[in-house]
Structure formats: structure tokens, C-alpha cells
Symmetry: C2
Subunit: 396 residues, 2 copies
């Protein structure tokens, strides 16, 4: 890992500003990351139009309420969210929801909640949950390697029937593990609402809300649906109600309080919400969620085909291919060879392929990571695949 | 109040889109509201430059860290914040801080905190505080009228010496009451940190951090320093520490956790922070906080001179002139006459003077309100003053 300390070259310090025209950049950052170019143009156009931008609109003005209602309706339509679910734009990112979920669904600290832990973010969710309820975990760690590389089966035996909810993260960005479809709880546990942290895969595949038994699903905006500062939180309405939340729940996190106030209990992140509306409009215009999923599959396949066909030059930590993430593809070069990894980072950056190494405090050792969120076009992923193929040929 | 239900004319429904060129609009909304035109131009220019906008930058990239560090340094410089204070960009708006303050400063629910309640927002702060500590209030309500129209003296008798903090709101937007300088706690209470909700007056006047005994000061961005989705929170460093916060404090609200993580414990609202940096740069270029205060005084004087010189045609609910807010000037027309008020709203809107009536759930009866945040130029306030003078002459 010592190449992490070599910051002589901007590519190695995580720079996102390579010496190529903006149109030639593909941003593989794990988030925040680029929006589709068409959406960036919609935003820029907003700054050129007459009247006030949403940066300047009171959240109670009819002009902003139109933007707001449009964003809610678009999220509902694109994600096919049934009427018995409330859609809120919430504060505090995914981490805010790590606290909000137990504070809303557990009235007492003695209440039990079951967390499936199979990576960095579900672990963080469980850790935060422990402040507010009795957390029971289903730990998916590989007992031999100590790594997370799969998703466990959910059985009657592993889920306490008194659980207020079963919590999972549908895409683990650091570990590269994704549930391409949500699991079903065993028949005898179907009464328990499912809570899903979909921060990094929301709007990239269909969700069957009713059949999956979703109680709460949240997604911070900064991966696939916008930029940081707002989170989409979807709550089944029967979980709302005056005295359901813990009395310790901050008002700003209280689903019922915010729902009853029309999501205007306090000032929402107005502009950030407008951008979500633009993203949803763009998805709808491109052919909807099925088309986004088709592209997501194609993008991930482009990169994984190179890894799997490289005769070990590249390798993936995700041994269970069923759960390989389409959103985040971690890969290692020549077993983590420092010099080759540096060379790869510098050459790819010079070619406008950026964000493959971000200096997070999490990391998984020598692995790089290609994040293929909706803002990454298929052509961008193919460009990276071609670069990887060439690089392997030249350096094997 | 029945004219509130007359929404036939867009001006009466709170529209911010009058039929005049954008350059002729002055936005008197109580927030969110317009930024100075020069700052709006800085933002728009960002969308035209090569490379990625901050909407697309990873919060861990050197490019964003430069924006971030610049914003922190600019807030420090403009507001003259001493080194023994930490500056954080926090989530959840002012309402988030209503919970964060007691959760960080009161380790136990039995801890005492003193709240000065002299308007809508200090009341909300106190209500939220009650979840996490024993709140004692100094209620400034006028016992005869039931209205808030002043600020009480702070005495030894009214402040419990064991208080973990004394809380106040330095500008009450709904009631139009402002502390032009922060009060000093009585000598025997100087050991208690002062907590200030400066959401609506931050960066419009100097703050003497040490001498005022400030422990925590917070300001949501959407009035004077940016747009909603981020809050500036300034904390005296001796109040930070591993086990100081309540164990019930959500990580996202924990000052110590966020400070130790370089304010990157979770993804901050990147673009919203960049805008704060632009605002601070603009303030510095215009002559700093003293110049902003000079303009604030002049803007408020322009409006109050018309009110006070109108022989009762206009009147103000703030009977104690010492505490008349420079930020928000509530005023009534002909004792609240419905028809004249409607006529005023429509004619002013037709002239590009907007945001004087927003349909909040708070309200103070028949009063309109001119909010004179930093985005309102002196010329805008003078335009409103001239309009008010003409309107009074024509309708007295």
C-alpha cells in the first residue's frame, strides 16, 4: 500500500482534474460523482433562464412547490412506488438514516432489530443502530479469509421473530457486493418490514416494493440520483403514526412529523431536490429503469469480462459471482504490484479515466475500484475496458 | 386573515415569478432567498468552466478538498473566528442543530440547560431540547399582549448556575427581533457557554467570540450565506471530547466525531459548501463584515423610516425599537386592512418587489414582512421604501 503515499503525481493523490477536455473525462468515483452530461446541461441551463433559480426560491413559494411535487412524482413514477408509501427528501445522508431508521421503528431501546452485515455500510448501520435498539446481526464474513464477499441466506433461524425490522444494504460500495434483486424473508418472518440502504444502487434496477416487504428504503443522492445534501427516504405508511417513533428521535429525522408537514417541517435542500427531479426526468426519457438496468449490466460486464479474461493479471475480491456489484467493481493489478498499479493509475488518468483510486479511510488494500453509476455512460465503461485490456497486454 | 385564501392573483399565492426582467426583481423572502447577483454569477460561471463542477467531485478528491478548505478558511477570516473554535459544515439545517446542541453538550437527560425564548425559533429550539435535557426557559413574552417583542435582561436569578449552556436565537425572523450585539452573561454565570442560533443574521455583523462566551454558534445557509442543505456550526474546542456527547447522539450530529474525521465522517453537501465559500469571498471583496453591517443598518433604516413616518398607515409589532431586526421587518398596512394589503402585495409584485408574503405556518396575523438579507442590495430596499411611501400617499 506504500504507493498511497506517493503523491508526486496528481493521479496518485486522487485528482479528478486530468489534462484532457471535459468531454473526454469519465468519472469512476465511488460518489459523489458525475451526473449524465444531459442532466448537467439541464442544471446549467437553469442558471441561464429568466427569473430566479431554485437556489433563490422560498421552499413555500408556488414555484418551488411545483419543482418539489414534480420531483416526488417523478421518483414515484420511475421507481414504481405504490401509493401506500410516503416519499420524503431527508437530511443527513445515509448516515442520518442509520440513526433515523431505529429511532422511527423502535419505540423502546429494548426493541430488537436484525441487521445483515456483509460490508462496510451495513456494519456502520448496525453500529449506529446499537445506540437505539438491541441489534442482532447476521454476519456474512467469510470465516476463512475474514472478508465480505457474498450475501447470506435469510432463514427463520437467523431472524428473531420479534425484530422490528430486518436491515440490509443492497449494494456495498467498498466491498463490491450487490443484491441484484432484494431477497424475500422466510414465510414465518414476512410480518417483519425490510429496511434497505439503497444509497448506491437506487434507480438502477426495478424494486418490487410490496412483494419484497419493504418498510423503509433510503438512498443518499450522491451516487445515482443527484449530488450530496439530500436523501430519498421511502416509508410504508402503516409504519407512520403519532407515537410510533422513539421520543428520542430528533424532529428532523422523524418520518411522521415530516410527512405530516408535507416534508416542509424545516427547509429542505431545495436545489438538491431539483437536481433529483432532473435525474428522474432523464431516466424516464431514456427508457426508464429497465433501460438503466440494461446499461448497468452491460457496463459491469465490460469490466468483469476483462478481469475474468486476463489470466490473473487482474483479479476481483468478490468470489461469489452471483453478488458481484454492477455499481462498484474492485480489482487488483498483478496481485497488487505497486509499480504496475501506479503506472495504471497514471496512464488511465492521462486518458481521462478518473476516480479509480479515491483515498477513503475504508479501502480494501491494494484494490482499485471502478464505480459505474448512472452518470457513467456505457461508452465510458467500454473505454476503461479497452484501456485495461491494452494495459494487461503491455504489462503481463 | 381571509385574504390569505384569495389566491386568484399570483402575488397573493406567494409567487416569486413576477412579469419583470430578472434584473428588476428584489427578493424579500424570509429564506431561502436570493444571493447577491455577483455570487449567482460566480455559481453560474462554475457550470461553464472546463473539468468537473463540484456537483461531480468526490468529497475526498484534492479538488474538492481545496474548495472545502477555502470555504472553512473564508468563514474563519470573514467572521474573525479564533483558532480555539472548530468550524463544521453540518447536516439537517437549524432544526438539526436544535437536537445536536443538547445531544452534544448534555451527557445526561438530567442535565440542565437554559433557553431564552423570545420568538418562534427559540421556542422550537427549547421544544426540541426537552427531549434530551431539563430545559429551563426565560420566557420573554409580553404578559399583557402575549406577543414577543423584546429581549429580556439575563440575570443571575434567571440562569441556573448548573446550566450546561444558555441558549438564544440572535434574530427571530417571524417576530422581527434581533440582538445587534450578543448579550453578556452576568459575572457569576460566565462559566456557562453561550449557544447562539444565528441562522438568520450570521455574517451581517461582527461577533466577539471570546468576550461573548460563545460555546456553539450555528447558522443554516439559506438566509445570508448560501442555499439550503448545509449549516455552519462553530464549536469551542474545549466542548469537544470523546465522551462528552450523549451516547444517544446520532453520529451525523456528533461534533467530536465529525471534527475528528476532518468533517468527512460522511459525505458533506459539497456544492452547497462551495456556494458558502463564494459568499464569503464576495463579503471579503465588498469590504468585510463591517461593510455588510453598514448596509444592513441602512437597508433596515430605509424601511423603518417609512413605517415610523407614515402616521400609523404602516405599523410595526416590535414595540422595543432597540431590538428591531435589520434582517426581517414585519409591518402592517392600515391596521391590517385586507383590501389594502392585497392591493399592496399585487402592486409591489408587479414592480418586482417579491417575497413580502410567504405562506408559512407561523405568521403573525395580518403582518407582511420585508426580509433584508445580504442578497438584498441597498438599492432594492430603497426601491421598496419608495414604493411604500408612494402607496401610503395614494391610499391614506
Amino acid at each position: 500500500m506504500s504507493y498511497l503515499n506517493n503523491i508526486d503525481h496528481p493521479a496518485l493523490s486522487g485528482s479528478l482534474n486530468p489534462p484532457v477536455p471535459a468531454d473526454d473525462i469519465t468519472n469512476f468515483s465511488p460518489g459523489p460523482t458525475s451526473l449524465p452530461k444531459a442532466v448537467e446541461e439541464m442544471i446549467a441551463a437553469g442558471f441561464g433562464k429568466p427569473g430566479l433559480t431554485s437556489l433563490a426560491l422560498s421552499h413555500r413559494s408556488p414555484e418551488f412547490l411545483e419543482i418539489f411535487n414534480h420531483a416526488v412524482a417523478s421518483v414515484r413514477k420511475v421507481m414504481n412506488i405504490p401509493e401506500n408509501y410516503e416519499v420524503l427528501f431527508t437530511h443527513g445522508g445515509g448516515h442520518g438514516q442509520f440513526a433515523a431508521v431505529p429511532l422511527n421503528l423502535c419505540h423502546e431501546a429494548s426493541d430488537v432489530a436484525t441487521y445483515v452485515v456483509n460490508g462496510t455500510w451495513s456494519q456502520r448501520g448496525a453500529d449506529e443502530g446499537k445506540r437505539y435498539c438491541r441489534v442482532q446481526t447476521i454476519d456474512a464474513r467469510d470465516t476463512k479469509t475474514g472478508a465480505y464477499n457474498s450475501f447470506p441466506e435469510l432463514t427463520e433461524e437467523t431472524i428473531d421473530p420479534d425484530s422490528k425490522y430486518v436491515y440490509l444494504c443492497s449494494n456495498e460500495t467498498v466491498n463490491g457486493i450487490e443484491l441484484h434483486r432484494l431477497p424475500k424473508l422466510p414465510e414465518a418472518r414476512k410480518h417483519i418490514p425490510l429496511v434497505v440502504d439503497a444509497s448506491s444502487d437506487f434507480s438502477t434496477k426495478p424494486i418490487d416494493w410490496i412483494d419484497s416487504g419493504i418498510g423503509v428504503l433510503f438512498a443518499c443522492a450522491s451516487k445515482n440520483i443527484g449530488h450530496p445534501g439530500v436523501t430519498v427516504t421511502v416509508i410504508r405508511k402503516d409504519l407512520l403514526g403519532k407515537d410510533k417513533a422513539s421520543p428520542l428521535c430528533p424532529g428532523v429525522f422523524n418520518y411522521t412529523t415530516n410527512s405530516e408537514a408535507g416534508n416542509l417541517w424545516n427547509t429542505p435542500a431545495t436545489f438538491n431536490i431539483e437536481v433529483i427531479g432532473h435525474m428522474m426526468d432523464w431516466i424516464a426519457a431514456e427508457g426508464g429503469i429497465d433501460e438503466i438496468e440494461r446499461r448497468s449490466i452491460a457496463k459491469a460486464k465490460a469490466i468483469y469480462d476483462v478481469i475474468d479474461g486476463s489470466e490473473g493479471f487482474y483479479d476481483s475480491p468478490v468470489t461469489d459471482k452471483t453478488f458481484r456489484s454492477r455499481m462498484n467493481v474492485p480489482f487488483r493489478i498483478a496481485g497488487g504490484d505497486e509499480e504496475l498499479t501506479n503506472r495504471f493509475l497514471i496512464q488511465s488518468w492521462d486518458n481521462g479515466l478518473i476516480g479509480l483510486r479515491t483515498l477513503t479511510p475504508f479501502g480494501i488494500g491494494e484494490y482499485l475500484r471502478a464505480s459505474l453509476y448512472t452518470g457513467v455512460a456505457l461508452e465510458g465503461a467500454e473505454k476503461l475496458a479497452a484501456f485495461m485490456r491494452d494495459f494487461a497486454r503491455e504489462n503481463s
